[in-house]
Symmetry: C2
C-alpha cells in the first residue's frame, strides 16, 4: 500500500509519527507492506517552497492509496495580509481529492469520565458519528474576499450549495445510520438560511428512499445545546461544512479530549473492507503551545490510521486491532497530559505510541 504522510505543522508531525508507528506494527503482525511517502504541507511548505501545497505533494496525495494528515497552521503564519496561509493547503487538498464526506465518530471511553467536565450519567450510551460536508459551503464558494470601498473595507464569504452536493453527503449519513441505530439528524438553520431550506428539503425527499432510517431535522443552535445536554440521543448527524466544524469541536467535550478523536474524509459512502481512497486526520489542530514538547496525545492520529486501514486499505480486522489496542492502553491507565487527572504521571507522545 502507498500511503502519503503529510504531518504539517505544530504537533502534526509528532502525532502522525505515532499513527505511522501503529500501521507499521500492523504491517509486522499481519504481514502487510506500507510504502510511506512523506511530503510538506501547510506552514512548513510555505517556509520551504513558498506555497502551502506544491504540485508535487498534490500529485503524491492523489496517487496514494490514502493520505495520513496531521494538522496545519500556527501564529507564525497568521499575518492577515499574507497572500497565502497554511490552511489554504489543507483546503486545496480536500477539494482536489473531492473528499466531501468528513466522518467524525465520537466515542466515550468509560475510563475517562473522571477527567470529563460532564456528570457521568450524561455520557452513558453516547456513540455518535458526525458527517461534516467538507468541500463546499462557506469555506469555498465565490465570491470571497476583501475589497476597499469609499466607505471602508468590505469582506465577503459565500455559502452556496447545489442540491447534488447536499444529496451526496446526506446519503453518506443515511447509509451510515442504516448500519447503526437507524437515526439521522440533519442539521441546518432553515428558519433563516436559503441553503438550509434546500438542505432540509433534500433530506426530506431522500428520507423516502430510507424507510428504515428515522430522519429528524435540528436547527444548528438547538443542536449545539442538545449535543451536550442529551448526547446519547444522537446516532448520525449530518451538517454543512461550517456547522460541522463547530459541532465536532464542541462534541470533543464528550470525549474528554479532542486529542482522542479521529476522522476519515471520503468521496463516497464508507464501506468497511472496501478500498476507497481517503484522507485521514485527527480533528485537533497544531496546538502551537505544546508543539515540540513530546506531550501531545497521539490517539487521534492512531485512530485515524485505523479508519484508513478500514476504509481505504480493506483491512477490517487490522483496523479493529488498532482500535482495541488504544482501548486497552487507556484501560491500563496510561494517560497523556490532556487526559491525565491531577496526580497521574502523564505518558509522553512516543511512549503512548509505543504502548499502543
Amino acid at each position: 500500500f502507498n500511503i502519503a504522510v503529510l504531518g504539517g505543522d505544530g504537533i502534526g508531525p509528532e502525532v502522525t509519527a505515532e499513527g505511522v508507528k501503529a500501521m507499521q506494527a500492523v504491517g509486522r503482525a499481519f504481514g502487510h507492506n506500507f510504502t510511506l511517502e512523506y511530503g510538506d504541507v501547510g506552514g512548513i511548505s510555505i517556509d520551504r517552497h513558498g506555497t502551502p501545497l506544491t504540485d508535487g505533494v498534490r500529485e503524491l496525495a492523489t496517487s496514494a492509496d490514502a493520505v495520513l494528515f496531521g494538522a496545519v497552521g500556527g501564529p507564525k503564519w497568521d499575518d492577515p495580509s499574507a497572500p497565502t496561509r497554511p490552511e489554504d493547503g489543507l483546503l486545496a487538498l480536500r477539494a482536489h481529492l473531492n473528499v466531501f464526506a468528513n466522518i467524525r465518530p465520537v466515542k466515550v471511553y468509560p475510563e475517562l469520565t473522571d477527567s470529563s467536565v460532564l456528570k457521568p450519567h450524561v455520557l452513558e450510551g453516547v456513540d455518535m458519528v458526525v458527517v461534516r460536508e467538507l468541500t463546499g459551503g462557506l469555506y469555498y464558494a465565490q465570491p470571497k474576499g476583501r475589497t476597499q470601498t469609499p466607505q471602508g473595507i468590505v469582506g465577503v464569504d459565500t455559502m452556496r450549495y447545489s442540491e447534488s452536493e447536499i444529496e451526496r453527503v446526506l446519503r453518506v449519513g443515511f447509509e451510515l445510520a442504516r448500519g447503526r441505530r437507524g437515526k439521522l439528524t440533519s442539521v441546518d438553520k432553515a428558519n433563516v438560511l436559503e441553503t438550509s431550506r434546500l438542505w432540509r428539503a433534500t433530506a426530506t425527499r431522500l428520507a423516502d428512499e430510507y424507510p428504515d432510517v428515522e430522519l429528524e431535522h435540528a436547527l444548528v443552535d438547538a443542536c449545539a445545546m442538545q449535543i451536550v445536554l442529551r448526547p446519547a440521543s444522537y446516532d448520525v448527524i449530518v451538517a454543512e461544512n461550517t456547522f460541522g466544524d463547530i459541532l465536532t469541536d464542541e462534541a470533543a467535550i464528550l470525549a474528554a479530549s479532542m486529542g482522542l478523536l479521529p476522522s476519515a474524509s471520503l468521496s463516497g459512502v464508507p464501506e468497511a473492507g472496501a478500498r476507497t481512497p481517503g484522507f485521514y486526520e485527527p480533528i485537533h489542530g497544531t496546538a502551537p503551545d505544546i508543539a515540540g514538547q513530546g506531550i501531545a496525545n497521539p490517539c487521534g492520529s492512531i485512530l485515524s490510521a485505523a479508519m484508513m486501514l478500514r476504509y481505504s486499505l480493506g483491512l477490517t480486522e487490522e483496523a479493529a486491532a488498532v482500535d482495541r489496542a488504544v482501548q486497552t492502553v487507556l484501560e491500563q491507565g496510561y494517560r497523556t497530559a490532556d487526559i491525565a487527572t491531577a496526580g497521574d504521571a502523564a505518558t509522553g507522545t512516543t511512549q503512548m505510541g509505543d504502548l499502543v
Copy 2:
C-alpha cells in the same frame, strides 16, 4: 413609558405576560406608569394579517420607548415553499430598529447546579456576556435565495460585513469589558473566512484605543469547545450573527436552562440608567411542544424586562429589584419544569411570575 409588547407564537405570549407582570409590579412599587401596546408578530400575524410584520406593528415598535418580545415560529409555518415565515418578522424588526448589538448575559445560579449536566467545579466563577452582532452577516446579506438551474436547485446565502459594522459591535464589547473584568474574546474563523480576517484586523486595530482591556482572538470551533470546558475564563465575547446564535444557545448549557436567559438588543453601547430604545427578548424559542400548557419558564422574559428597565427606561434600581426577585424565588426552591430535579413539584408559568 410606552412599551410595545409583541408576544409572538408558541410560549412567547405566555412568558411575555410574566415579563409584563414584573414591570407592573415595579410600576406599583416605585410609582411608574407603563403604557402597554400589544401587537401581533410572526406566525400569528401571518394567520391574521397575511404577513409576519404589519406596517402598524413596525410603527408601534419604532415609536415605543422599548419593545418586549416573546418568540416566533413553529411547525405550523414551516412549509419550505411558503413565501414568508414567522422568523422574517423578527429579522425585519431587528433590522428596522437597527439593534445591531444583542447582549446575552450568562449567569449561573448556584442553586441550580444540581440540575446541570456539568460538574459543579466547572461552573464556579462563571459570569460572561456574549455580544452577538444582530443585523448583518449570513442572516441578511444579498444575494440570498434558491434558483433552479439545469443541474438542479442551487441555494445561496452571503456573509458580508463592512468594517464599520464590525467596529460598532466590537466597541460594544470593549466598553462592556471595560466595566467588567477587562477581558474581551473576539470570535471568528480567520483561518478560513475573509469576513473573519476583516473582523480580526478590526478588533486588533481597536484594541489600541482600549489599553485597559485585554483582547484575545478565538476561532469559533475552539470557542465552542472552551465555552463549556473553561467557561469561567470568559468575560465578554463578541461574535458574528450566526456564530453568536450558535454559541449563545450552547452557553445555555451553563445556565441549567435556556429558559432563564434574557437578552437586550441595542443600537449602541449599553449604559445603565440611560434611555436608549431597545428590543428585549428571552433567548429561548417558541417551544411548540409545551406551548399552551402553562409550564414554560418565564424568567427569561422577566429578566429581559429587567434589562429593559435598566437600559431603555433609565430605571437602574428597579431593574436590580427584578433581578433580585428572580434570585430570591430560585433560592426559595421554586422551580419550573425545565429546572426541576426529579421529585420536585414544578411551579407553573403564571405562579412563577406571581412569586417573582
